[in-house]
């Protein structure tokens, strides 16, 4: 099950690309995009704050054994809202809203309210 997987925390687009490059090819990579957190651990994105605990609970119990879970901050509000934000411009990613959970390398993604539903997350995690 999920217990042996490290959770990775990433804070920038370049860091994300670098980390992903180093991950073994047989792993499935799931990236959770949310707004940056302050020193208290709260994000400027309210929806991201609300989803965090439930999502972590679900991921902990459903993440497949060959899955890597990455939490990636898209930056502060201004950086995210900027149309030049690297996460928005990346040709494969084309991120449009947060919070989002994406399987890297595919077009599969879930956002906002879908993330509260363990059955939806199960669909994302299912092997083809």
């Amino acid at each position: 099950m999920a217990s042996c997987n490290k959770k990775l925390y990433i804070n920038s687009y370049h860091e994300l690309k670098n980390v992903i490059k180093k991950i073994e090819k047989d792993k499935r990579i799931f990236v959770f995009f949310s707004g940056a957190k302050d020193t208290q651990g709260y994000s400027w994105c309210q929806d991201c704050n609300a989803i965090e605990k439930p999502l972590n609970e679900i991921v902990a119990s459903l993440l497949p054994s060959n899955g890597i879970f990455i939490e990636c901050s898209v930056g502060d509000r201004a950086s995210w809202k900027d149309s030049n934000c690297l996460f928005r411009k990346d040709s494969q990613l084309r991120l449009t809203n947060i919070p989002s959970l994406v399987e890297w390398g595919t077009s599969k993604r879930l956002t906002e309210n879908q993330l509260y539903d363990p059955d939806m997350i199960q669909i994302l995690f299912e092997d083809d």
């Binding site: 439930p54 609970e57 595919t106 077009s107 363990p118 939806m120 669909i123 083809d128």
Partner: protein, 765 residues
């Protein structure tokens, strides 16, 4: 003095016990916990009341959680008790819901209940009483077509009686609150002996024993238990009441055998098959808030190919086919590019099979995911299981791992589609492939023999050739049986002219593998009837053999015989339907490729995605609302995506001639040159092969057949389909101004008729 730790623990323990005792269904929960939400939603759906407390919002929350762990060895939430029995967490409770255990705990069955009532009373006289009441109830039910056990003050009883009166349906009702020895109904005189013993309460008890329903109104129609007010109103709406009171011929026969209906069902609707038709029907049903389940399971091909949710169209049909057709068109545009001034594109041109497959499969997988998410967000239950009938309304589901379970549905729609046929010759399944395998083939197919002359065969042969593979086509007799034959032979001419080899009257007899590999080397033995009439036996070597000789409905392994439906090879194992309802079983429906539908135009079956989708949606509306809109199978536009595309609406020339007669129709036609091809040298031999014709009913001037052979025929035909639907005449076509320069405009300027004998070659620019 502050309470001691022991006293604390004891009071917490008491508190927990109190919660468990006082609530039939007790959930210890946390407000942010998604599994707690999940089980609460499931209970709400099942209309089961529960009480929950949110431990994260309580001061003693932690202590309660500890106490629960002590009591149940479970440390997580949700922690659930039903009638004081510890069930477990979300998964265990869902399981208990599904298996019926929750229902049993909340409503223990008769035997338990009888047991409860009988205290110190004399068993003998109680038995006799109960028997008498049961007999009385039976008498009422049998003697009245519509029987309502009612109470005079009950508003639901009034509601359903009003509804029946409005529908002009006669009924008989007795008011249980007014029954007793002072009742003076006419029937009393007849049943006075039994009546002397009967009181309203006892009748109500007899009803509970019979139907497990303890409320009024309790309604029977033609001796079938319907239920209370809501269920009866539902039955009125759905037409079930009318059907029960006036069963059509086949049902009358059926009734003599056995009463099919169950008292309750797991689902209002079960759809077998998650393809174009099945998904559309199930989602539409949800808009009426019905409980819907979709079953989808792909039995792997002989070489092991399988795919995800979405059916044939998405996975091994229209979608990958059109993308591969596009791949081959791009190859042709590269040849065109020279004359348009591009240099070197042609020399650099090469095609990677694996790259094309990768792009297409990635897209298909994203569609599979999208459909899964879509079903979930619309509240359709999805089971990745193979469904088979066990008995009326009841299916056995078998999942990938072989685990089974049973579910029941009040209405069931069969939307299982079809699969390609094999020719039944030695080596066919072992070494040959079909379209099911082609679209995800992990190796380049190389030199390919396509066996068959269906549109699947010609489309596949077309794009394989277009991406540069050598293609031969073995045709048993004619091309595109069921389609307009003049158009079919023009397609054949085009394809041969661009380099595909057709071999007519050639039937494969054995497929041998010379060398294994990806691809390997195969030898296809065949029997050929020569022009002289002689029969020659020979073989052809190749890398891949693709069988495209037709498709059969996947109905054989559904155990349809268990519900009284026969299917046979003569019509491809299709289920006979009228307006998508089985002609044998009223609660059984079918849509899509697997049906033999009475209201379809005879001849060519309409095995098309948009047909299945619309039929499914209209069917759901008819099943669950008072819609009466039927599917119109006439003037359905179609397109064959061969290298030169062929679009058609309405009658073929052969069908028009046979239905209307030569004297009553006029055919207008024209060849034309697509402007884009006119400057391309590589198109020299084929540029005049584009062609279109309109078949007109002389008496009304209505256009009854539309045919166009041209690049982009699919896009052209769609627009004209609207005109055909609105009954366009030849004059309408003529008065419509064309768009210049396009291929589509040619349909607006047709003046040469076949009967005149004049040349159909294009004039002007």
């Amino acid at each position: 003095m502050p309470p001691t730790k022991d006293a604390d623990e004891k009071s917490i323990a008491n508190l927990v016990e109190k919660y468990i005792d006082e609530n039939d269904v007790m959930i210890f929960s946390k407000s942010w916990c998604p599994y707690c939400k999940k089980i609460k939603d499931a209970l709400k759906s099942a209309k089961i009341e529960f009480h929950s407390i949110e431990l994260d919002k309580m001061d003693e929350g932690d202590q309660i959680q500890k106490e629960l762990f002590k009591k149940t060895k479970q440390e997580t939430v949700p922690n659930i008790f039903i009638k004081q029995q510890h069930i477990g967490g979300c998964d265990k409770t869902l399981e208990a819901l599904k298996s019926g255990r929750v229902a049993t705990l909340l409503n223990p069955p008769e035997s338990e209940r009888k047991h409860k009532k009988v205290d110190n009373d004399d068993l003998d006289s109680k038995d006799a009483d109960e028997k008498a009441n049961a007999n009385l109830v039976e008498k009422y039910i049998v003697e009245n077509d519509v029987m309502i056990f009612s109470k005079s003050w009950c508003p639901y009883c009034t509601k359903v009686k009003d509804a029946l009166r409005s529908a002009k349906i006669e009924f008989y009702s007795i008011e249980l609150d007014k029954m007793g020895r002072d009742l003076s109904l006419f029937k009393l005189l007849i049943y006075i002996f039994i009546y002397y013993l009967a009181e309203g309460d006892q009748i109500q008890n007899a009803l509970i024993n019979k139907t497990e329903q303890d409320t009024v109104p309790n309604i029977f129609i033609k001796q079938q238990h319907i239920g209370g007010c809501d269920k009866t109103l539902e039955a009125l709406k759905s037409g079930r009441v009318a059907t029960l009171l006036n069963p059509p011929e086949s049902e009358k026969k059926h009734k003599k055998v056995e009463n099919d209906d169950l008292d309750s069902y797991d689902y209002d609707l079960i759809v077998i098959g998650g393809g174009s038709g099945g998904l559309a029907c199930s989602k539409e049903a949800r808009s009426f808030e019905k409980k819907v389940c979709v079953l989808d399971f792909v039995k792997p091909t002989p070489i092991g190919t399988t795919w995800g949710l979405g059916g044939t169209c998405v996975n091994v049909g229209c979608i990958p086919k059109k993308l591969m057709h596009q791949a081959s068109l791009i190859g042709e545009y590269v040849h065109d590019s020279v004359d348009y001034g591009w240099s070197q594109l042609d020399q650099a041109r090469q095609h990677s099979w694996s790259k094309m497959i990768e792009s297409i499969q990635q897209y298909i997988r994203s569609l599979n995911f999208k459909y899964r998410v879509d079903l979930r967000s619309k509240g359709v239950t999805y089971e990745n299981s193979y469904g088979e009938f066990l008995s009326p309304h009841r299916l056995k589901l078998t999942d990938k791992k072989g685990k089974t379970k049973e579910i029941t549905g009040e209405k069931i729609v069969v939307a299982v589609g079809g699969r390609p046929k094999y020719p039944d010759i030695e080596g066919d399944q072992q070494y040959g492939i079909t379209s099911d395998d082609l679209f995800s083939l992990k190796y380049d197919p190389g030199k390919t023999i396509v066996v068959g002359a269906s549109y699947v065969a010609l489309e596949c042969a077309g794009f394989l050739h277009g991406i540069g593979r050598e293609v031969q086509i073995f045709v048993r007799s004619i091309l595109l049986r069921g389609f307009d034959q003049q158009m079919a032979s023009k397609i054949g001419d085009y394809m041969s002219t661009i380099g595909m080899k057709f071999h007519y009257q050639r039937i494969p007899t054995r497929l041998e593998c010379l060398e294994e590999g990806k691809p390997g080397k195969l030898r296809l033995h065949y029997r050929q009837t020569l022009e002289s009439g002689e029969i020659e036996e020979s073989y052809e070597d190749c890398n891949t053999v693709l069988f495209a000789i037709g498709r059969e409905a996947c109905t054989n392994e559904l155990n349809l015989d268990k519900i009284g439906i026969e299917v046979n090879k003569a019509n491809g194992f299709k289920i006979k339907t009228k307006e998508e309802q089985s002609i044998d079983i009223p609660w059984l429906y079918a849509i899509g490729d697997c049906i033999d539908e009475q209201t379809m135009p005879p001849g060519q079956p309409l095995e098309l995605t948009p047909v299945a989708i619309q039929a499914g949606q209209l069917l759901a509306k008819r099943m669950f609302s008072n819609s009466t809109i039927k599917m119109d199978y006439y003037n359905v536009p179609t397109t064959v995506f061969t290298p030169i595309e062929y679009g058609a609406i309405g009658y073929s020339e052969e069908d028009a001639l046979s239905k209307f007669g030569e004297d009553n129709i006029e055919i207008f036609h024209s060849e034309f040159v697509p402007l884009e091809w006119s400057i391309c040298h590589h198109r020299d031999q084929v540029k005049t092969m584009s062609y279109c014709k309109l078949i007109v009913d002389k008496n009304t001037d209505r256009v009854i057949g539309f045919h166009v052979l041209s690049p982009n025929a699919g896009e052209i035909t769609q627009g004209y389909a609207l005109g055909m639907r609105l009954g366009a005449t030849k004059n309408d076509f003529d008065m419509t101004i064309g768009i210049h320069p396009t291929c589509a405009e040619n349909l607006t300027t047709l003046s040469v008729t076949k009967s005149s004998g004049d040349s159909a070659a294009q004039e002007g620019c």
